[in-house]
Amino acid sequence: MRVLVVDDEVELAEAVARGLRREGYAVDVSHDGADALEKAVFNGYDLICLDITMPGMDGRQVCRSIRQHPFEPQPRILMLTARDGIDDRVGGLDDGADDYLVKPFAFPELLARARSLLRRDTAVTSSVLRVGEIELDAARHRARRGERQLELTAKEFALLRFFMSHPGDVLSQETLLEHVWDEHADPFTNTVRVTVGTLRRKLQVGDETPAIETVIGRGYRLEA
C-alpha cells in the first residue's frame, strides 16, 4: 500500500512516515500543497494523509484538486488537522476527504484509520484478510498459512497484503512497484522479482501448493 504524507511540519511528517514504513507501507513525504498534488498525480497513492493548514496551497485545495483528477481508483484521503471546529471538519469532508484526525493524535489511531480506509477498497470488514488458507492480520502485523506462522520482513508483509487485497488479480511488476515501494525505489532493479521470490518461498514449504503464480509476460497472481 502506498501512502503520501503531507504536512508542513517537517518533523511531524517524518515521524508519521517512519511509523507507517515500519508497518509495511511504502511512504512518500511532501511538505507543501503544490508538491503533494504533483506527487499524487504522478504516483497514484492508495492513501494520502493530508494536513489542512499549509502555506500556499492548503490541504483542502489539494483535496479538491485530487478529487477533480480522473484517478482510477481514487486515493483515500485522511485529513490531519489542528483545527477541531465543526466547520473545519465538515468543510474537509465536503471537499472529498474520507476521514479526519485532529492533532495531536495517537499514532495507533492513525494506523487504525489508515487500515480502515484501505479496507474499504476490498469490502473486508476487519483488519484480518483471508485468502485460501493464508491469513493476514494487518493490525497485529502477523501472517500465517494454515497453522504455520510466517516470518516476513516489512516489505514482504506489505507485498503479501497487497496481493491479498487483490486476490486472483494479475498484478504487474509496475503495479507492485507503484503500490508497495516508495518513490525512492529504482524501477530498473529487480527488487520486485527478488521480493516476490522470497515471499513465494516463505509461503510454500514442503508439499504445500504454490500460492503465488507467475503469469508469464503479465505479472503475478495470488491463487484464491
Partner: protein
Amino acid sequence: MAAGSDPAPAHGATPPIPPSFGSTMPESPPPAPAPAPGSGSSGATAAGSMTAGSTTSGSIPSELVAPEPAAQVHTRLHSRGQRLAEHLPNWMGSIRFRLTVVSSTVIFGLAALVVGVIYFGLRHSLQNQRISALIVQIPGGPVLIKPDQAQLIQAQVKAQALDSLQLYSFAALLALFFLSLAVGWLVSGRMLRPIGQITAAVRRIQTSDLSQRINLGGPDDELRRLADTFDEMLGRVDDAFEGQRQFIHEASHELRNPLAVIRTNLEVTLSDPDASVEELRRTAEVVERSTERMTRLVDDLLVYARKGTLSVARDPVDIGALIVEAADEFAVTADLGGIHLAREATIGLWVLGDRLALRQALANLLANAVRYTPAGGSIRVRAGRESAWIWMSVEDQGPGIADADQDRVFQRFWRGDPQEGREQGRSGLGLTIVRQIAEAHGGEAKLASVLGQGSAFALWLPALPAPTSAAPVPAPVSVADGEGSAPTAALTTHPAAEAAAPAATPQD
C-alpha cells in the same frame, strides 16, 4: 463615551431598582428578600436588602460581638429584619408589595388627616353654636321650649350628627384603605411590569446564549433606558467572549502543532523495540525543539493576554532614552549577525506610559529587524517628535513585506513563512503585541515596506504636553558612524521610511 454618559441617569433616576432587582435575580430558591415591610422609605429598604445580601451570616456575630453602639444596633435590627423576612411569604418581600403598602399608607394617612380635620372642625364649630331658646312649630301653634331643654335637644342633635359623621368617616376610611391597597397593587404591578420583563429576558439570556437582547419596547423612560443599558452591556460582553473564544481557538491551534510533533515522534520511536540510540537521540532533539517553540509561544501568549486585560501604568517615559537603551542591548546581537545598528534619538521625548511595555514593543521590533536583515545590512532605530506625537521607528533592510500582507503582519499568529517561522521558534505574536502596546497607550503602530528594499515599523504615541523633568537636551545622543553610509542613505530616501515617519501620523 456616548455610551458611558447615557446609562448614568437611568440608574440615578431609579435608585431602588438595581439592588432589589439584583436580589431577585438568582435561580430557583429565591433568597429571603429585603425585609422591613412598612418601614416607609423604599430607599432604606433597598439599602437594607443590599447589606442583607452581602453579609448572609450577619445574625451570628451580632450576639457575640463586643458592644459597639451604632454598628450593633444596626446589625441587630438588620438580623431581626432578616429573621422576620424569612417568615414572610415570598410575595410580601417584593417591591410591588412595598410600593403598595407605602402608597396605601400615605393615601390612608392623608385621607385620615382630612377626615380628622373635617370632623374636629365641625365639632368645634358646633360646640360654639349655642341656642338660648327654641320655638317649635307644631299643629297647635308655636311652642316655646325653655333654654335648658332646648340646649339638651341641641346637644343630642349635635351628638347624633357627629356620631353619624364619625361612622361615615370610618366607613369611608376603611373603604379607602382597601381601595388604595387594590389600586396601589394594580398600579405598582403595571409600573413594575417592564422590570419583570427585563428579569425574565436576562434570565433567559444567561441560561441560553449571549447573542439575545432584551429589546424592551415602549416609551423612552427610565426602565427603557435601563433595558437599553443592559443590551449595550450584553453586546460588549458578547463581543469580549467572542474575542476570547476566537483567541483561545487560535492559540490552541498554535499549541497543537508542536504537541502533535512531540506525541507522534515519541509514539513512533517508543513503539519500536529495536530503536537505535541514534534514533532515540534524534527523537529527543525533536522533542526539545518543539518544547522550546511551545515555551516561547506560551510566553508570548501570556504577554499578549496580560496586555489585553490590564491598563498600562502611566509614568513619564523618555522615548529617546529608551531607544538608546534598547539599541545598546541589541548591538551585540546585531554585531554577531554582521549587521550595523544605527540609532538617532534625542533625549527628552516624553510620553506617558508603561516603560516596560514600551521597551518590549521596541525590543520586538528590533528582534524582527535583526532577524530579517541579511549580514552586511544595517538597521536604523530612531525617534522624534511630530506636533503632538512622539514616534519611534525601526527600519531594516530585510526582504520587505508584500502590499497584500501589510495589513496582516499585525494579526495574531501570522508568520510570513510559516515553516521558516517555526524553525526560528517564532510565536507569530511579536507584532501583535507591538500593536497592542501602541493602542493601549492611545497610539498606533504603522508599517511601510517595499519588497526587496526593507521595512520600517513605527510606533506613534501621544506626547506628554509639558516635559516633567529637567529641560530636554536637544542634542542627538548618537548619530552613529553609519550616517552617511549607503544603506542608511538608501533608507532615508526609500519610500518605506518616508511613509512610516511623518506621513504615517494617526488621523486624529
